[in-house]
């Protein structure tokens, strides 16, 4: 029997020669490294947050601490600020996302109707705001004049409708089949009722994507919260985290010599623990986010 040498081919039918396989190994390894490097900072602080300060000064990098310790978490939680920040951010995110979704969908629905008189005018009005804005200072002064300074309403109303998201919703409504809607009108349902009972249930996927866009935006916002909130008990998790981690660090860099000479206690583990506490909520919703965000980007990409 003659030996037949079987040359494997990849999905595209390219012969998998030795060179091809070597390239494969390189690409696979490289992509693996990229993935690991992306995660490395998180792994580093996760390990450090469970370690003792002493170990952190002795060992530069480790994934498993020699001595496990929960002191950093105890300190971080007893300090209380980060928990208060989590609570505030949670309320803001929940409430803000609801407001945004109500405003965005009710605004998008009339604009999705081709027959709607004034449609072009209103759409252009939205597009102008995508190109030009009053900017930071006039917006600040106007919101302050409305009496919204030091209120969560400032953080919510400053971006209650994202033009981009609104247009994605509008386009989605536009693509829905008309038949169900018309049947509802025939039955004498009002336009608002049709919107609630027919349109919204049909749009669950896009509504989920946009809600997540908005929610992640609220959760991660730092700058607006910093500008508009004054009362420390109202601070969001991002402000609390910055105050705990960065203010002290900026000084520690300058005071490096002082630290070296006096051996001031490194509070590194506490900072790591606090950072991780602030990251966990995002990681918890990440599976949902990943599912819907990629979809949302696709919708945007198709439109673009």
């Amino acid at each position: 029997m003659a030996k037949t040498k079987i040359i494997k081919r990849d999905a595209r039918g390219v012969k998998m020669s030795l060179g091809y396989r070597i390239t494969d190994v390189i690409i696979y390894t490289l992509m693996g490294c990229v993935g690991i490097i992306t995660l490395l900072p998180f792994l580093y602080i996760a390990a450090g947050s469970f370690a003792t300060d002493r170990e952190l000064t002795e060992r530069a990098f480790f994934i498993i601490p020699r001595v496990w310790s929960l002191n950093a978490y105890k300190y971080s939680i007893n300090n209380g600020n980060i928990l208060l920040g989590l609570k505030n951010s949670f309320i803001l995110t929940l409430f803000g996302t609801v407001v945004n979704m109500v405003l965005s969908t009710t605004f998008a629905y009339p604009l999705s109707k081709k027959h709607f008189k004034g449609r072009n005018f209103f759409l252009n009005m939205v597009i102008v705001t995508m190109l030009f804005s009053g900017g930071m200072i006039p917006t600040f002064m106007v919101l302050r004049a409305y009496g919204l300074y030091d209120s969560y309403w400032a953080l919510i109303l400053i971006g209650a409708i994202s033009p981009f998201n609104m247009i994605i919703i509008k386009n989605f409504f536009q693509e829905l089949p008309m038949e169900l809607e018309e049947a509802a009108y025939m039955d004498g349902a009002s336009e608002f009722r049709t919107f609630l009972t027919i349109i919204l249930p049909l749009s669950k996927s896009v509504l989920a994507s946009i809600s997540l866009f908005y929610a992640v935006g609220y959760w991660n916002d730092y700058f607006n919260a910093m500008i508009y909130l004054q009362t420390p008990s109202k601070y969001t998790v991002q402000i609390m985290l910055r105050n705990i981690v960065l203010k002290a660090s900026a000084i520690s860099d300058i005071m490096m010599d002082y630290y070296d000479q006096n051996g001031a206690p490194p509070d590194k583990a506490v900072k790591m623990a606090t950072t991780l506490i602030a990251t966990v909520p995002i990681l918890v919703i990440y599976p949902f986010v990943q599912k819907f965000f990629t979809k949302g980007v696709m919708v945007g990409a198709v439109k673009g």
Partner: protein
Amino acid sequence: MNSSKDRKLLAYVWRHKGLYLMLLPGLLYFILFRYVPMAGLVIAFKNYSPFQGIWGSPWVGFDNFKQFFSNQDFLILLRNTLGISLTQLVLYFPAPIILSLLLNEIRHNWYKRLVQTFIYIPHFVSWVIVASLSYQLFNTNDGLINMLIKMMGGSAIPILSSAKHFWGLIVGQDIWKETGYGTIIYLAALAGVDQEMYEAARVDGAGRWQMMWHITLPAIKSTVIIMLILRVGSILNTGYEQIFLMRNDLNVAYAEVFDTFIYTRGIQNAQYSFSTAAGMFKSIVGMIMVLGANWTAKKAGESGIY
């Protein structure tokens, strides 16, 4: 004739009053929170004082703009903003393209998805967390990188607190945070490539690299051009939350950009008119850049954004 037209319109609005009522809250939002601030730009042409109010404050014409352009800081702001943007363009812009081309070569779907799951994560964490991670990794005292350098007998590099490392730090953060997520749009374009083209190329004897060069790359060309144009259009937007968080007294010479300058002068120093003029300059240049970019895209035969 005119009045019958009006009556028709009124009849239409009345018949669809539900739609108009639904539009109303959003419309109010756009007027109160987007257009009124635009009207607030008038203070750029006034010498605003809180006691006299917006309308009572005296007009000063273009004095605030003159003051801004003749300010010695102006050139520094321009240098830093463009410096950061151009570094981003050269180092950060190509990263997702290269990464998606490489991801496209992975044939095992589970492995591809695993890598994707990892590299999308940083997009969803806040800039405060990115800043915090950067402090843990790079500070001269007990940061990971500098501890490693010191253990190997080197001397610490003040990555966070020296002006000359600032642009690299910012663009490095961008690359870490957004490269993975940036691949989505290119991978979407690649998913649309007709597999028969590869088949045909194979019959012609093309290898992997030839396929990448002649099929895969042309497939994402229009996406690349659109993204490039968008990037150039927003060249004055350097992401101020990020820069604001990484800026400190020691690196400020290379860290001050238009947005941080406007914040410091406007909100911290209450120089409302001056900082509004600076902001207005930025808004107008930004708008011209975006419209110009869009126009270029259409000229180049791509569909524009607006």
